[in-house]
Symmetry: C2
Subunit: 332 residues, 2 copies
């Protein structure tokens, strides 16, 4: 009823304060150029009128939106929220806002989203990208990109290396007497999966163990449950899963068949997303996602700063194997 005045613009502040529009602008962006008294007067008027700078207008003239995008394969996968959180917090400290989008583990959707965001953000952080290397490099020329868990030369990236921990897990299984173990693989196109599988098979070869790779449809609980038949019939006595979700799916399915862990099967997860909650607590690899999110965010800010210089930063985060209660001697 009362205030039909909408949001005030610099023009209205300027008129009310008896100065030029440019002075109002400067009062907020470069106050050192104006006399203290003028700045104070302008700010007072602005306060009274409830002035809020229009960020579209500002973005249009400066070319800076103050936004970044954060693209993840699956928001609901418990692996990602801590990473999202830490990245967002880090961005906020630098006065940036972050768009979040879920590309549902689909390469097509990922591409669409990048295009959609291209005009709205200054840079994008891409988690576990499914896009081909050349495409990424092409995009990186147009817009600053930082990758997490994807290793493309020439693009700044942060990698969480679960390899050494998984190698340790294989050795542990071998030490317990397991001769045949399975790797329940994750999304085949991802760097993460390739790297994990490579690490595991390196050690199984080295120790002369038999490794059976069983693909899963998705890195989810349900997919874990779905591959139990195949796993059992393969004759393995222990398994390492691409992530905790798959591992837990296997555990629940085994338990529904009255097969105990680790008595009937030994299981190892990865990422410690839900492993502290499982029954029994799942032996898994530590979770470095919080750190990764923060670093990715800092990296992109760095990239925003010096877009010119050939930027080939790479940061590798090491992990730890966290032994809980799902490894034991083989059953048969």
């Amino acid at each position: 009823m009362s205030s039909k005045s909408k949001v005030p613009t610099i023009a209205q502040i300027a008129e009310r304060a008896g100065v030029a529009r440019s002075s109002v602008s400067r009062a907020f962006t470069r106050p050192e150029l104006l006399s203290t008294t003028t700045v104070l007067r302008i700010k007072k008027v602005a306060e009274e009128l409830g002035y809020v700078p229009n960020s579209s207008a500002r973005a249009l003239s400066t070319g800076k939106t103050g936004n970044i995008a954060f693209l993840v394969p699956d928001v609901a996968n418990p692996y990602f929220p801590p990473m999202i959180r830490s990245a967002q917090l880090a961005a906020e400290n630098l006065d940036y806002c972050v768009f979040l989008a879920d590309f549902e583990e689909s390469r097509l959707k990922e591409e669409k989203l990048i295009e959609r965001f291209a005009g709205k953000v200054e840079g994008v952080i891409l988690i576990s990208s499914r896009m081909p290397e050349e495409r990424l490099q092409g995009l990186a020329e147009k817009i600053p990109i930082v990758l997490v868990n994807r290793d493309v030369p020439g693009i700044p990236r942060v990698l969480i290396d679960a390899g050494s921990s998984l190698k340790q897990a294989v050795r542990l299984l071998a030490h317990q007497g397991h001769q045949e173990i399975a790797y329940l693989s994750g999304p085949s196109v991802t760097w993460t999966n390739k790297q994990r599988q490579a690490a595991i098979s390196m050690v199984t070869n080295e120790l002369g163990l038999q490794l059976v790779v069983i693909p899963t449809e998705k890195p989810s609980l349900e997919s874990g449950q779905a591959v139990v038949d195949q796993m059992i019939s393969s004759g393995v006595t222990g398994a390492i899963a691409f992530n905790d979700l798959i591992a837990h799916g296997i555990m629940t399915e085994l338990s529904s068949r009255a097969l105990a862990v680790p008595d009937s099967f030994s299981i190892v997860g990865c990422d410690s997303s839900i492993s502290p909650f499982t029954n029994p607590p799942l032996t898994s690899v530590s979770n470095e996602t919080t750190e990764a999110g923060k670093i990715a965010c800092e990296m992109i800010m760095g990239v925003l700063g010096e877009m010119n210089s050939k930027n080939d930063q790479i940061k590798v985060l090491e992990t730890l194997l966290i032994e809980r209660e799902t490894i034991g001697p083989p059953c048969k």
Copy 2:
């Protein structure tokens, strides 16, 4: 080296295609105003030059940013990611982008974030807001707001009602013979906590049970662990926790003292965020967050459409008590 041309603007497309800038604009926004051939020619040129509309410029002249903000108390709390995901997906289908921010359960931070986003979005979805009612109403006059799990008259809202399920939980405990039970309360200012506590105390009164309310510092695992002493010394034999995280904290702490659930204590959680994973599986209330996120998003789009009309929509989502394995007869 080669392309210094940056991103092309309508002016360049216009020149290349031999038309006015306005025609280029219309070719994308209102093609029915132009002849088919002209539209085709313009689009072809745009394609060749890799034209992407500048969204700041568009937002400036239309006043529509095509963005919404989604503010949550804690991204890493497993209760929220499914809600974030479904809201984001729903927004995307309507060509909106969503900003995500974590206000760390702080009212001050919440306020700051709303202000920061005010200029960048067309509306904000506020989850479990900590802000006082009057402040929210004031803000709602300036910018479209939809609340989730907060009941403020005059502001569109979606509420997840765990009340009836928790009442059922109390009855279940009573039926098992429990006379004194505890409610491990959540953030005291939240609607969710008040509503849950009210529901529980209504039934304990009705049945003549003793109810001990024990506050927790945060709705987290650690806070659950921290209140176990107090809970034990209060003499209760069963407890209902504000959420699964607190319930699980209690369970782990009890288990580290060699107290079994449900033999020594009966525990009920809420929200089914991690209850399927706990050991033993936690009896809890169903999770309606996915639906809530979707509805909140649809609501805000509705609000954007008809900002004028008095908007007092309210949508209540009912829940189910999911009985798992953490309720049994009282110990002593």
